[in-house]
């Protein structure tokens, strides 16, 4: 069992090192995610957000704009996750009212 776990860990590390050897250089503005245009000619999200966030919403903090507007359904999901967690404590831990009777 222990050998299996070590194997899993080694495999995990191996696949990550394998991947990292070919990742683009960090901080390089020419990376595809920072580039002016994607290779198929579609809009690159990061650039669009930087350039248009203020114009679209009059809000200087781009993270807030992306969070609250461009990707608002993500944020909604995030809120639902937290709501779920609250309900879970209610379900698992809350004293049931009927059991006492």
């Amino acid at each position: 069992m222990k050998a299996l776990k070590i194997l899993i860990l080694v495999l995990f590390a191996g696949i990550l090192i394998y991947a990292s050897s070919d990742l683009p250089f960090r901080g390089d503005p020419d990376n595809l995610m920072h580039a002016e245009e994607s290779i198929t000619g579609t809009t690159v999200k990061g650039n669009y957000f930087i350039q248009n966030a203020y114009r679209d919403t009059r809000t200087p903090n781009m993270v807030t704009v992306v969070l609250g507007d461009y990707r608002s359904i993500d944020t909604f999901g995030e809120q639902v996750v937290i709501y779920t967690a609250g309900l879970i404590t209610l379900l698992v831990l809350r004293r049931s009212r009927r059991r006492g009777k």
């Binding site: 990742l23 992306v66 995030e78």
Partner: protein
């Protein structure tokens, strides 16, 4: 070579942290330790996203009137930051659920050690 190092050292540290987290999940018998391992794993992924968002010589993601918006290289990429805000919240929610379950488990079996638990269940 030095370029490669500066371009990649952040990834290697992320990998080390990820492996520490995975080690905690896989090898630790105590359930709270497992939870700590899980937290480390999650935060390491956040670190990965934050580190890929960076650009050399760029400023933070709040608009500065002095820095023109059309030169995107001057601002960090806001998208991974946003994603990671969500991911952190999700991580906290997960931890909250894990804590809830831990309390429930302890209530029933008076132990959080995995081997003892398996003994007591059978």
């Amino acid at each position: 070579m030095l370029d490669f190092f500066f371009g990649h050292y952040a990834y290697w540290f992320v990998i080390i942290l990820l492996c520490i987290g995975a080690y905690g999940i896989l090898f630790k018998k105590n359930l709270i330790k497992k939870t700590i391992g899980l937290a480390i794993l999650q935060i390491s992924v956040v670190l990965y996203f934050v580190s890929i968002a960076s650009k050399w010589d760029a400023t933070v993601t709040v608009m500065d009137p002095d820095i023109p918006l059309d030169q995107v290289a001057n601002y960090l990429n806001p998208l991974p930051h946003t994603l990671m805000l969500t991911a952190i919240v999700v991580g906290v929610a997960t931890l909250g659920v894990a804590f809830t379950l831990l309390i429930a488990i302890y209530n029933r079996y008076e132990t959080l050690d995995e081997e003892e638990l398996i003994d007591k269940i059978q």
